[in-house]
């Protein structure tokens, strides 16, 4: 028989009355009991008797609740419940204190975003050239030294070095050379349009053996054996020979040289310091075969045999070089190697490991773009600073809020929580916040990366598809959460329950001290970054506005003027006639780093040249209008004159050259040098070239201001790489249109490439400007993070002291008095931070400025400026809350006691 609904309801009520709350279990038990009762009723018992019997015998071991307890104990994992509980409480807490939690998450996520960006940057910068097989055995040979007191550092070597080392030193397994010849105009034989390319170099056929760039078409072993062969990147192949195989095709360089494409290689990786799209065989150029040991034009890379000691090999190579160079020293300078060294000169060769080239190179010129180790370190430090600022905010806020949670701790302890539980609870809360912040930070990074890439001139990517990266991020979030949460966790959990009820533990002195220390640290970092930013900007400003000895404004540079060949002079004449043009000049030598340079040894005519009386001077080939167009100042003598034929053997010296030659004035002064064989660049002994000094030009900067102004001479000659045009107006686009029209008239189909002298000038300091901008942004962010923390802290303090302020006002305190009282404490902290930060900043800036030979004076005002800025920002942050608290009606704050 079946029980009636009424009976079932009775049982349901009774079971629930007996304390069964687990729904799943109670359903089953009720069913079970019902079946038993039904059986007993079938045996003739009344419902109530049957039920009584059933319930007493139901569980031989105890009551229904015991079954329930047993079930819960069996099925539920205690830790899981506990952790779920932690989560629940943590989330409730965070939701309840939205303001603080929001500020915490915001500050931390901005901090995380900054650090993450910097991490990506550093990772990219340190990843260069690690992908080559045997990269630990590949070195570049570089030279340092000093001749006649002129120091030099060059990443290039003599032409015969590479092959000499491979054939004579068994330690050197393979070598490859590069010779850069600047930009070329490239076109296909049938194409009408040429493109200006700058990723070109001449290199040995061993290139693909030494470096691991994959060749997709052609034979890497033989590709660059013959003269006039070229290997091109996949990108270049697609550009010039779209949709067909480039192999065997022809490329025309600079309009007259036909190169056969013998290989196509995969585009060079972004993190390679070698960035070329075109590799021409070195066999093409005569210069590759010369045997001069004193002329250095070739970037030389070697691969050593396995297990070769770098230091020993360096010695062997130096010795080898000494032996080879000695005969030439004797032949041309008349001294032996020993005498050369005895005179205080030195040349030393060094092996630069491949993987370090990108970060550690700091040469005036280099084979490709290089980075800077200092920037990487600086950024790493900034990243750590910013993250620690964000963490400190977090700790500060959490401990500050301890007052509100003190009672919670007390109650929990009274109810039997042990300290470990509380620590776990608080740590979990901070880890949740941290995970949350990392999530937002990651989103921020994804959003701001394009901007950062533009700013830092990189192509970074967030490796979202890398599990390793996500795991790393997750771990970092947990660790950050633990670090940031440890102090509050241990601090809060140490409260004694009785004290929390009385309210004494919230006024703990030690707590306030730690908090002050952290605020001081935050402002220390902010002030440091402010002063740093201002100093870098000042130096940049100084460089850009310093009197540089020529007028860089309003000068247009037209590239590849040599392509006009014979129409060159007519073009110049017609451009000159334009109303917006003041003057024009042909010369590839420009007072900007990266343009043509030519230096040689000169001496006063009549002297017997030795190492003490020769001067290593730049000799620039210019035309008659150069000085005028560049806006340089003649101090003494005269400019070149077309009417005076003998000017073809005249020079104009700069002040530095005058000083080094020991000339007082220009009367009857001559300098001379060896004559050179025009074909292979070797010195013709016994023959000399003599120049008459006709003028002195004011010193002008022609390299970065990190370098001193070196001796320099101008002479008349043909150098047609670039035409410089001085404009008389600021209507640049109009002038450019006019000039381009003329250009098209003479050089149909040739690309019209131009730039401005002042832009090129600024390009020299691109790294510095970039540094300044990035530095400025991060400094700003760190200040914002710091202020965010300070703001929250001030809010909290004001809240804490609401009653105190109320009473003070009732007793007659003025609003300004109270604002002063509240701001005083923070001001003290900022001043202490300033006192610590100023000397550190001074030390750092002085160190950085050491790099520059021409640098701005850093005075006290800079430091004061930084300090005052930080102070004002802090005061504004704090005063908002102070004024709000002080202006509040005391009736309201005191009523609810």
């Amino acid at each position: 028989m079946m029980l009636s609904d009424e009976h079932v309801n009775y049982i349901i009520r009774d079971v629930s009355y007996r304390g069964i709350v687990d729904e799943e279990l109670s359903e089953e038990l009720i069913d079970h009991i019902c079946v038993l009762v039904e059986q007993k009723m079938e045996n003739g018992l009344r419902f109530i008797e049957a039920y009584d019997q059933t319930i007493t015998t139901f569980s031989a071991e105890g009551s229904l609740v015991d079954i329930q307890n047993q079930t819960i104990a069996y099925t539920n994992n205690n830790t899981r419940i506990m952790i779920r509980n932690y989560f629940k409480i943590a989330i409730r807490n965070l939701v309840k204190h939205k303001f603080y939690a929001g500020i915490n998450v915001l500050g931390l996520s901005v901090g995380v975003a900054c650090s993450l960006l910097i991490y990506l940057f550093i990772k990219h910068e340190t990843s260069y050239d690690k992908f080559h097989g045997n990269s630990d055995r590949i070195y570049r040979i570089i030279r340092h030294g000093s001749i006649n007191g002129n120091e030099f550092h060059y990443p290039v070597c003599p032409a015969p070095m590479a092959n000499g080392l491979v054939s004579e030193l068994p330690d050197v397994e393979q070598a490859v050379r590069f010779r850069n010849r600047g930009t070329f105009l490239v076109k296909t034989p049938n194409g009408t349009e040429s493109y200006k390319e700058d990723g070109l170099t001449f290199t040995d056929s061993t290139f693909f053996d030494l470096f691991s760039f994959r060749v997709t078409e052609g034979d890497p072993k033989t590709a660059l054996n013959r003269p006039l062969t070229i290997a091109i990147s996949a990108e270049a192949a697609e550009k010039y020979f779209p949709n067909v195989s480039a192999l065997g095709k022809t490329l025309v360089l600079d309009g007259d040289e036909d190169f056969e494409v013998t290989a196509v290689f995969e585009n060079m990786r972004k993190n390679s310091h070698l960035q070329f799209d075109f590799l021409m065989s070195l066999a093409t150029i005569e210069e590759a075969n010369n045997s001069m040991w004193l002329s250095n034009n070739f970037f030389t890379y070697i691969r050593t045999a396995p297990d070769v000691n770098k230091t020993e090999l360096t010695e062997k190579i130096s010795e080898f070089y000494g032996q080879k160079a000695d005969p030439e020293l004797q032949k041309y300078m008349g001294i032996t190697g020993e005498e050369f060294l005895a005179a205080g000169n030195s040349i030393s060769l060094e092996l630069q490991p491949l993987e370090e080239i990108y970060l550690t190179s700091d040469f005036i010129f280099d084979i490709g773009p290089t980075g800077s180790e200092e920037t990487v370190y600086l950024f790493a430090i900034i990243a750590i600073f910013i993250l620690s600022l964000a963490c400190i905010n977090f700790m500060n806020l959490s401990t500050a809020r301890s007052a509100n949670r003190a009672k919670e701790v007390g109650v929990r302890k009274a109810l039997g929580s042990v300290r470990a539980h509380l620590i776990r609870q608080f740590l979990l809360e901070s880890i949740i916040l941290s995970l949350f912040a990392f999530g937002i930070g990651l989103i921020l990074v994804v959003l701001t990366l394009p901007l950062f890439n533009q700013l830092a001139d990189r192509e970074l990517l967030v490796p979202l598809d890398s599990i390793y990266f996500i795991f790393l991020l997750f771990t970092a979030a947990v660790i950050t959460g633990i670090i940031a949460g440890t102090y509050p966790a241990f601090f809060l959990s140490s409260f004694k329950p009785t004290n929390t009820y009385k309210g004494t533990s919230t006024q703990s002195v030690g707590n306030a001290n730690v908090r002050s220390g952290l605020v001081i640290f935050q402002f220390f970092v902010s002030i440091l970054l402010i002063i740093g930013t201002v100093a870098v900007n000042r130096q940049l400003d100084f460089i850009q506005n310093k009197k540089i000895g020529f007028q860089k404004e309003q000068v247009l540079l037209i590239d590849d003027a040599y392509m006009l060949s014979d129409s060159r002079n007519t073009f110049k004449k017609e451009v000159n006639e334009l109303s917006s043009v003041l003057s024009t000049t042909y010369s590839g030598f420009l007072p900007i780093n990266g343009y043509y340079r030519n230096d040689n040894t000169y001496w006063k005519k009549g002297l017997n040249p030795d190492e003490t009386n020769t001067v290593n001077s730049q000799m620039w080939t210019v035309d008659h209008d150069y000085v005028k167009t560049m806006g340089m100042n003649i101090l003494e003598g005269r400019d070149f004159d077309r009417a005076i034929v003998s000017d073809s053997n005249a020079v104009i010296l700069n002040e530095e050259a005058m000083k080094q030659f020991g000339f007082e004035n220009i009367e009857e002064r001559y300098i001379q040098t060896h004559a050179f064989n025009a074909n292979d660049g070797s010195i013709i002994s016994g023959e000399y070239v003599v120049y008459k000094v006709i003028g002195v030009i004011e010193d002008f900067h022609f390299e970065s201001m990190k370098e001193n102004i070196a001796p320099l001479a101008l002479r008349i000659g043909r150098s047609t790489g670039i035409m410089s045009v001085r404009l008389s107006t600021n209507d640049f686009s109009g002038s450019i249109d006019q000039i381009e029209e003329k250009w098209q008239k003479f050089g149909t189909g040739l690309p019209f490439n131009y730039s401005f002298l002042d832009d090129q000038f600024e390009r020299m300091y691109r790294e510095e400007s970039r540094l300044a901008r990035v530095f400025g942004i991060f400094a700003g962010l760190s200040i914002i993070i710091g202020c965010l923390g300070l703001f929250a802290l001030a809010t909290f303090m004001a809240e804490q002291r609401t009653k105190e302020i109320g009473i003070r006002k009732v007793l007659g305190a003025s609003v300004s008095g109270i604002v002063f009282m509240l701001s005083k404490e923070f001001s003290k902290l900022v001043i202490i931070a300033f006192l610590i930060a100023a000397p550190v900043a001074w030390w750092g800036i002085a160190n950085w400025l050491e790099n520059y030979n021409y640098r701005v004076e850093i005075g006290v005002e800079l430091f004061l400026l930084g300090g005052i800025m930080a102070f004002v920002i802090a005061l504004l942050t704090v005063s908002y809350q102070s004024i709000k608290a002080a202006a509040r009606n005391p009736v309201k704050s005191l009523r609810s006691e």
């Binding site: 079932v8 069913d31 569980s59 079954i67 069996y74 099925t75 539920n76």
Partner: protein, 112 residues
């Protein structure tokens, strides 16, 4: 009646084996089945049956299906695929255990 102490270690094996043989069963049915099979010498108590059932369910060896009987709900248990494998293994383990016990206690099975 056997001592409940002896039953304790074998409860899971019994439940799994029963469900493997009979498909789905509910709590009362299981106690009855055990009683019948053991000629009333084994009596499962509710106090040990239900906690064990819930534990097996939490471990993923059992699944449940509820059938409504008017006001009451009857909950049937059946094996998951993991539960089926475990049932076979537990029975094998127990068989091996008994054989070992026979040797250890020097009982001859024929004497029963």
């Amino acid at each position: 009646m056997h001592s409940p102490e002896l039953l304790k270690g074998t409860l899971q094996t019994i439940i799994l084996k029963l469900l493997a043989d009979h498909g789905k069963m509910y709590g009362y049915e299981i106690t009855q089945k055990v009683r019948d099979l053991s000629d009333e010498s084994l009596q499962l108590t509710e106090g040990s049956l239900y906690p064990t059932l819930h534990k097996l369910e939490a471990q993923g060896l059992l699944k449940t299906k509820k059938i409504s009987l008017g006001k009451r709900v009857r909950k049937y248990y059946f094996l998951t695929s993991i539960g089926q494998n475990t049932a076979i293994k537990k029975v094998e383990d127990f068989e091996a255990f008994i054989k070992t016990m026979f040797r250890v206690l020097q009982i001859s099975p024929q004497s029963i």
